[in-house]
Amino acid sequence: MSIIILIAAVSILIAGGFLVAFLWGVKDGQFDDDFAPPNRILFDDTIKTKIKK
């Protein structure tokens, strides 16, 4: 049954990994701006439009 202790420890480690990922994201400013990134990704890099006169 003592395998449970090992499993518990491993599960906490894995969950800890996600926690670190979350904290990293906060630190990096992922939650700072919720408008620009989802819109930015939709922009085409090569739009060059010139409306002819």
Binding site: L19, L23, D32, D33, F35, L42, I47, K50, I51
Partner: protein, 804 residues
């Protein structure tokens, strides 16, 4: 007949900004623009192949009606100023962050991030949309800070550079900290819960002893960061409250958290139980979440602007015979300064050269610009509408009239708000302590000492007022969210409660009840022939008086006429001979007309041609749409006053809507506005809501229980206030107030629910039989149901009040 009472409805809207076009003269191919500024932006974008700007959104631009002077940003060549604005430079590259208040849609985002197609020196440009900021890196060899700013201005995004930027560079970073805490506490809560399950579900000691105690180590280890990191703010707040001899809601919460922890450690160490650490971390997690929902910040809105942010950074000052930009702070008495068109006068100064036409609407509330003569004093805060002026400084920025206004005591004291939650929590704490002590006394008298401690501690654990805190934080958070959807932004959640207590509303007139930019002209009298119209137009064109300009625009009569013996009498009117006709335009006394009572609304300008009074032009403010309705509704419940810095031309008109009982006060100085509010509060016990828009209202806004600043458009700057309301939503004012009152009902309802949970918990606790399992079920159930209830009720009331 009444000529020209209705203007032809023109549906053409500007291709760039979507504003209504007055005529279709400014056009390019099939595209019509409202002003040449808009057209210029379009041409620039087209030249640089950036027209995708117009494909992403329709009419994404910002109106460019005010042209920007070429040397406006000359001060950005000054090394000292540059140093204060930029964040980093290594001589080759420079990094700078600009606040661009015009930013509002994905087109803006796209254009601003592609700015290097216009200015090749920009290496990268990154927009933070929520903050309305753009972070730019540029190459010093290819461009300069001034050129970057000029590029941004040319495409319609003039950065807001103010004295406040210079003096205060700190950027507030608060929300990140709480997100860390929330993440950590959520992690610990979930894992402690998981580790506790085996014990809860193991019946009859099925769980082996070693495994059980090993899991206990995990649990204790996980609870430490919750206690020592996540929960610190409750302890800090409780301690601060105690030091100020004030029992705030954080105090019983801190006590409950501490007791829960100590008791759990005791149980685990002595092997008498499994502790309540899962409940403790859960409570901390939910409370942090509540505070996070409540303390939403509007990063692009500033509630704390002081007069400095309205001032230009530098002003053209004469130094050694030449006009050079000088930082406003360094302008001294007797300096000669030059003010350009559309510039704010930052100091008190005497006019020495030029035709001044000063718009004081922001400072005093007067809707019609003032025309000071040479030798007269111009006060700080006025905006020059005409051409360039030269002035001699009489008072520096730090001494000026406007700054003095700001240095009054109201601006120094923080508003004390007594929240209903803090009041309730004190009773709550007292009652809980009473129950705890009587239960303990009972068990002590029965001789059950162990049970006594057991009952006392579990009572304090279970009756933690966290549910009360959750009710208020989540309710406030939801209310703020719903209000902000309707473009009403509050500075602090406590303002909701203050709004609910309001019983007297004070309105500013200019810019609040009326639209700040528009004036309506109405002609009453004999018919004007076309020729007469041109004559009147030609005469008006000679005058720089603001009223002349407004009527001139209204007539739309452009034709060159020979004018003989033109005369302008300040304060009265103008006269002249055109085509052998003697035309007099001006006040009733000036033309010799009878001033009838029906013409008392607005400013009246009479026209007389050859001794015959033709009629009168009434120039009036345009009132906000829906203002009659909202006043009617508000009048039923609140006392109302009008406090205006403008003249009393509109008094009769306003009386109709405000009723006879209302106080309508005109020609009020900013300081008088402030003392009026003070009097209301002191003598009538009034809870005052002040709604204003300009710097002249700043004192009154601060003094009133709730001060709301009205803003038009997204690049308007508002004085310091408790809330900012978009002018288009003015008609919803009564709904906002009703919704704020509903907030209290929501808090009470959810509080009653939480009391029910507490009674269940206490039922077990007083008997000393509250098991960790019951606590572990009760805690999340009560927290989640309160969150759902507050959410549901606030959505319901929001819909009921017609918001969203």
């Amino acid at each position: 007949m009444k000529a020209g009472q209705s203007r032809i409805e023109n549906v053409t809207s500007c291709y760039h900004c979507g504003d209504e076009c007055m005529n279709t003269k400014i056009a390019l191919a099939d595209k019509v623009f409202c002003c040449s500024g808009c057209k210029m932006v379009y041409e620039l974008l087209n030249q640089n192949e950036l027209c995708a700007y117009y494909d992403l959104n329709e009419n994404p631009g910002v109106a460019q009606k005010t042209t920007i002077r070429e040397d406006k940003f000359e001060f950005l060549d000054d090394a000292a100023i540059i140093q204060q604005l930029i964040s980093f430079t290594d001589g080759k590259q420079t990094q700078v962050t600009f606040y661009l208040p015009q930013m509002h849609c994905s087109s803006c985002l796209w254009l601003l991030e592609n700015i290097n197609r216009i200015n090749k020196g920009v290496i990268s440009s990154r927009v933070n949309f929520t903050k309305k900021e753009s972070f730019l890196v540029f190459d010093n060899k290819l461009t300069t800070l001034r050129k970057v700013v000029e590029t941004l201005t040319a495409i319609g995004y003039e950065p807001h550079i103010s004295l406040q930027n210079l003096s205060d560079k700190s950027i507030i970073k608060t929300s990140g900290n709480r997100l860390y805490k929330l993440g950590v506490s959520g992690f610990c809560f979930a894992n402690i819960m998981m580790m506790s399950f085996p014990e809860y579900f193991s019946l009859g000691g099925f769980l082996e002893r070693e495994i059980g105690s090993a899991l206990h180590y995990f649990i204790v280890a996980l609870s430490l960061p919750v206690l020592f990191y996540c929960a610190t703010e409750f302890f800090v707040a409780a301690w601060k409250g105690l030091r100020n001899k004030f029992l705030n809601i954080d105090f019983p919460i801190a006590v409950a958290i501490a007791i829960t922890f100590l008791r759990s450690i005791y149980e685990l160490a002595s092997g008498t139980g499994s502790g309540y650490l899962d409940s403790m971390s859960g409570i901390v997690f939910f409370m942090l979440m509540g505070r996070m929902v409540q303390d939403r910040t509007y990063r692009s809105i500033s509630f704390d602007r002081d007069f400095k942010s309205f001032f230009p950074i530098a002003i053209h000052t004469s130094r050694n015979g030449k006009f050079v930009p000088v930082i406003v702070d360094q302008v001294k008495v007797n300096d000669v300064i030059r003010i350009h068109s559309n510039e704010l006068v930052p100091v008190d100064a005497i006019l020495s050269k030029g035709r001044a036409e000063i718009d004081y609407s922001f400072v005093s509330g007067e809707s019609v610009p003032v025309v000071p003569q040479v030798g007269e004093i111009v006060y700080a805060g006025g905006k020059q509408l005409g051409g360039s002026l030269e002035m001699i400084v009489v008072k520096e920025v730090s001494q000026s009239y406007l700054t003095n206004l700001w240095n009054q005591d109201v601006f120094k004291s923080e508003k004390q708000s007594t929240s209903v939650i803090h009041g309730l929590s004190q009773y709550f704490t007292a009652i809980v302590l009473l129950i705890g002590i009587s239960a303990a006394a009972y068990w002590f008298s029965e001789g059950e000492h162990l049970l006594m401690w057991n009952a006392l501690t579990t009572i304090l654990i279970v009756a933690c007022p966290c549910a009360l805190l959750l009710s208020s934080t989540f309710t406030n958070g939801n209310i703020l969210r719903i209000l902000s959807k309707s473009k009403f932004y509050l500075r602090h959640p406590d303002v909701i409660e203050d709004l609910a207590k309001i019983n007297h509303i004070v309105f500013d007139k200019t810019g609040t009840l009326t639209e700040s930019k528009r004036m309506k002209v109405n002609y009453v009298g004999n018919e004007i022939t076309t020729d007469q119209k041109y004559s009147i137009g030609a005469l008006l064109a000679q005058s720089s008086h603001p009223l002349s300009k407004i009527i001139y625009e209204f007539l739309q009569a452009f034709r060159h006429e020979e004018i003989e013996s033109f005369k302008e009498i300040p304060g009265s009117g103008i006269e002249g001979w055109i085509n052998d006709e003697h035309i007099k335009i001006g006040s009733a006394e000036f033309v010799g007309a009878q001033h009838s009572d029906s013409l008392t609304e607005g400013s009246a300008v009479f026209v007389k041609i050859d001794e015959i009074v033709l009629g009168v032009f009434q120039v009036r403010n345009v009132y906000r749409s829906g203002f009659e309705d909202v006043l009617k509704k508000l009048g039923k419940r609140f006392r109302m006053s009008v406090l205006s810095g403008d003249n009393d031309n509109e008094a009769v008109f306003l009386k109709k809507y405000f009723g006879q009982k209302a106080n309508l006060l005109f020609n009020r100085q900013p300081a008088e506005k402030l003392s009026f509010i003070k009097n209301l509060q002191a003598n009538n016990n009034a809870n005052v809501l002040m709604i204003g828009d300009g710097l002249n209202d700043a004192g009154a806004l601060k003094q009133s229980n709730v001060g709301i600043a009205l803003t038009e458009g997204n690049n308007n700057f508002t004085p310091a206030s408790d809330g900012i309301l978009d002018a288009s939503q003015f008609g919803l004012l009564d709904c906002f107030l009703a919704f704020a009152r509903n907030g209290r009902a929501i808090i009470m309802t959810s509080f009653i629910l939480s009391i029910l949970y507490n009674i269940i918990g206490l039922y077990f606790a007083v008997q000393g039989t509250l098991s960790p399992l019951i606590a572990a079920i009760l805690m999340p159930v009560s927290s989640l149901s309160i969150i759902l209830l507050t959410y549901g009720l606030s959505e319901f009331y929001g819909k009921k009040q017609g918001l969203q």
